[in-house]
């Protein structure tokens, strides 16, 4: 069965520090992987996606993610966090042919001044 695990519920980092948010997935075929961000009171915004090819993908707002098939992971990274990055981040896997998405439980990011 498809599933997505985000082991960190809350993360706090200082502004300017680097960030890595973890995501592990379980999926029986080639996964389509996504990271979304949800700011308070807002909908979900797509940060980046992986379908195939280069396993290091670049997204908006300076984020990147690396697909590691051997580890079933798709971790999100940012070299220097800004206060405006404080939000909740969701990892998702898309089911081929059916457009169904399975979301992780989310990671809330707090940014200290």
């Amino acid at each position: 069965a498809q599933s997505v695990t985000q082991p960190d519920i809350h993360i706090t980092v200082s502004e300017g520090a680097s960030l890595e948010l973890r995501c592990n997935y379980s999926y029986g075929a080639t996964p389509y992987l996504f990271w979304y961000v949800q700011s308070p009171g807002q909908g979900l915004q797509l940060l980046l996606k992986y379908f195939s090819g280069d396993t290091l993908v670049q997204g908006i707002k300076g984020f990147e993610a690396e697909f590691k098939r051997s580890q079933s992971s798709f971790n999100l990274r940012k070299p220097s966090v800004h206060w405006s990055d404080a939000a909740e981040y969701f990892c998702a896997v898309g089911a081929y042919n059916f457009n169904k998405f399975y979301f992780g439980s989310g990671t809330k990011l707090n940014v200290k001044p």
Partner: protein, 116 residues
């Protein structure tokens, strides 16, 4: 990409009543999806709405409780029927990329429902 609007943005309803949420997309799309996000939780797919056919519901969701309409390729409604406090959630609609048909989904801003 797609621009999606939802109405209402929020509402407070009494238990036992029903609320219909509207989702409007700026492009024609075959599929539309409805999700529920309970407080502090992740998103759970309620159903997939295809124009011209009945919606397909996920396990744990039934048509009597969450009837869906899809009258055309840019619009859908989700009704939350006979509401209870457990229905207090954010309800979001989403669509696949209308231009490429690729698998990323674009989300509306959500409807925040509180049931008292």
């Amino acid at each position: 990409s797609a621009v999606i609007s939802q109405k209402p943005s929020r509402d407070i309803c009494q238990r036992g009543t029903s609320l219909t949420i509207q989702c409007q997309v700026d492009s024609q799309v075959t599929m539309m999806f409805w999700y529920r996000q309970q407080p502090g939780q992740s998103l759970t797919l309620i159903a997939t709405a295809n124009q011209g056919s009945e919606a397909t519901y996920e396990s744990g969701f039934v048509i009597d409780k969450f009837p869906i309409s899809r009258p055309n390729l840019t619009f859908s409604t989700l009704t939350v029927s006979n509401m209870s406090p457990e229905d207090s959630s954010i309800y979001l609609c989403s669509v696949p990329d209308p231009g490429t048909g690729a698998y990323e989904q674009y989300f509306g801003p959500g409807t925040r429902l509180t049931v008292t």
